[in-house]
Amino acid sequence: MSGTANVNELALRLGGGPSWAMVRTHFDIQSFGVNAYIAEEPGIRIVEDHDELGERAGRHEELYFVSSGRATFTVNGDEIDAPAGTFVFVRDPAAKRTALAEEAGTTIVIVGGKPGEAFSPSPWERNAEGLVHFANEDYDKAAETYEQFLDERPGDGGFLYNLACAESRLGRKDSALKHIRQSVEAEERFKQDAVTDPDFDAIRDDPEFSAITGQADSAPAGS
């Protein structure tokens, strides 16, 4: 559909990270991927540390455009100062890239596609459907959505993680612990995400949660 929207109106606030404007899904764009992220405060990791080779990644080349504010990118270990108006184009899907917002209101538009192939959405974008329910604080609907996704892709670490988030918010402690354990077993990186994710505040003090996230091992040694 043809249409119009402001980036700030599309942005969903999701926990402590940047707000996410799901531009491609909003307009049902079928020929390239496009999203925008907004950091309300400096110090927010506005582009997560990733490459484009993971199971849920699209092996895309990616164009990052800093439309307002300022960010510091790190690509393959190189630090890049990126004030508003900067384009960072990451051609190599294996390149590790991330960015930290330096100013409140920093906004980055990201466009991606795979050279030589017709566009198809990256599997991670399925997450978008469920994350809308988090933004609306409808955790029942979020849990239901990720259970359906898991029927389609059993064992998917991202879906398990978000299901655990919803269950923690709903007070379903045992299910939340079971699913966060399974998500960490599927993808180690979720261990670190869970430590600071406010969705797990309700189960953070549970010894099993500490064991899953490795916090039990990191207590300082005493004499």
Binding site: M1, S2, G3, T4, A5, N6, V7, N8, L10, V23, F27, I29, Q30, S31, F32, V34, H60, E61, L63, F65, S67, S68, V75, N76, D78, I80, A82, P83, A84, G85, T86, F87, V88, F89, V90, R91, D92, A94, A95, R97, T107, V109, V111, G112, G113, K114, P115, G116, E117, A118, F119
Partner: protein, 212 residues
């Protein structure tokens, strides 16, 4: 083009090619960075009263997304007029008429486009825009070099010959203009219809050998 893992460029460092005689500047992004999976360019209106997106619809099946990166513009999308401050996205399906006029100085619009369901092909018009950008910037030699190289590499595409014919007409080269227009019409008779209404050829229209 280098094959570095990444490239960085600031909007201010991009080329500035005039697209018309009223001040619209084309700022090639895809071409500068070597992007191949989709098309993307920026357009800047410095004075703030001129056109920042040409009024058109996409005939080659591209869907387009526009993002107002800075300034303020008024878009036309189909029959609707849209007030578009910085931060506005406008999505246009291929057949939908679209265009925009800036309402603030230094308005820049980023355009992203590709055709659903097929691998992205780099649009031929980019190189033609570069050539005419050089011409409008006063560098006729560079413009001619660029256009003749494009036509040599794309001898079977009518668009290259047609635009070279326009360039020859603008630079008052009668024989070159007629020869290139003939070739364009041979490749696609539609070129004759375009030429009939193209003011670049006005001074040649009464020439008995003018083919349109």
């Amino acid at each position: 083009m280098s094959e570095k893992a990444y490239e960085v460029v600031h909007l201010d460092e991009l080329d500035r090619f005039p697209v018309d005689d009223e001040g619209l500047l084309w700022r090639p992004v895809r071409r500068r960075l070597g992007i191949t999976a989709f098309g993307t360019n920026a357009y800047t209106a410095e004075q703030g009263t001129e056109r920042v997106v040409e009024e058109h619809s996409e005939q080659d099946g591209h869907e387009e997304l526009y993002f107002v990166a800075s300034g303020h513009a008024t878009f036309v999308l189909g029959d609707d007029e849209i007030d578009a401050p910085a931060g506005t996205f406008i999505h246009a399906e291929p057949g939908t008429k679209r265009g925009a006029v800036a309402t603030e100085p230094n308005t820049t619009v980023l355009a992203i486009g590709a055709k659903p369901g097929v691998p992205h092909e780099i649009s031929a018009w980019e190189e033609i825009f570069v050539a005419f950008g050089h011409y409008r910037n006063g560098d006729e030699t560079k413009a001619r070099e660029h256009l003749t190289a494009f036509v040599a590499a794309n001898d079977d595409r009518w668009q290259g010959h047609y635009n070279l014919a326009c360039f020859e007409a603008l630079t008052k080269n009668r024989d070159g203009a007629i020869e290139e227009l003939r070739r364009a019409i041979e490749l696609d008779p539609a070129a004759k219809e375009y030429a009939a209404n193209d003011t670049d050829f006005d001074w040649l229209r009464d020439d008995p050998e003018f083919p349109a």
